[in-house]
Amino acid sequence: MAIENEIRRLRFENGEMTQQALAESVGVTRQTIIAIEQNKYAPSLEAAFKIANAFGVPLESVFRWRNG
């Protein structure tokens, strides 16, 4: 998948936030957070903003487009 993310690192930097806690703040299931974190699922723009908001960082600090 061409979209990569820094969710694992950001969870670590935010006091080892659990996938469940992030899922609850975004309003998705833990399995969806796992799929996003492993680059298996590209979230909607709304969910992407919610994830960035949960970490208090801009969207581009969480997700980036990988060329090729």
Binding site: G27, V28, T29, R30, Q31, T32, I34, A35, Q38, K40, Y41, P43, S44, A47
Partner: protein, 141 residues
């Protein structure tokens, strides 16, 4: 395994067990050259539908009791997308079956056999839907 994936497994296994038994019984009756008409098909189908409803209700209620939080949670965007993708694959399966059966009708296959195969098409499309959901859940999306 997510709650929705468990539900897909319940649907898959319920359909396999109930309609596997239904079609096996029907096939046996057919191969023994017994009466193959409404008097056999309708009560058997009614029994299968009742069994399917009972199995689905009992298993889904049990699942909800063991997972009360997930049972009341709304479907998220990835689960909705998986449902839609699986529905699309199932609709292709059903459409293919219907086209084949229209061909069979035009070639003069008897109406009762077509009705049985039409039901088989519906069951197969449901199985394909559940299997596709499980595959997408396993794969991530």
């Amino acid at each position: 395994m997510s709650y929705r994936e468990k539900r897909a497994w319940i649907a898959l296994l319920s359909y396999c067990a109930v309609f596997g038994g239904y079609f096996f019984f029907l096939w046996q009756a057919w191969s023994l050259d017994e009466a193959f008409g409404r008097e056999l098909v309708i009560p058997l189908l009614a029994g299968a539908v009742v069994a399917l409803v009972i199995a689905a209700v009992v298993l889904n209620v049990a699942l909800a009791l063991f997972n009360p939080k997930e049972a009341t949670a709304p479907t998220d965007e990835r689960e909705t997308m998986i449902d839609l993708k699986a529905e699309r694959i199932a609709s292709y399966t059903l459409s293919t079956g219907v086209v084949c059966l229209v061909g069979a009708l035009l070639m003069g296959v008897n109406g009762m056999a077509v009705a049985v195969f039409l039901l088989a098409g519906l069951v197969i499309s449901e199985l394909v839907k559940s299997a596709a959901q499980i595959a997408y859940f396993r794969r991530g999306a």
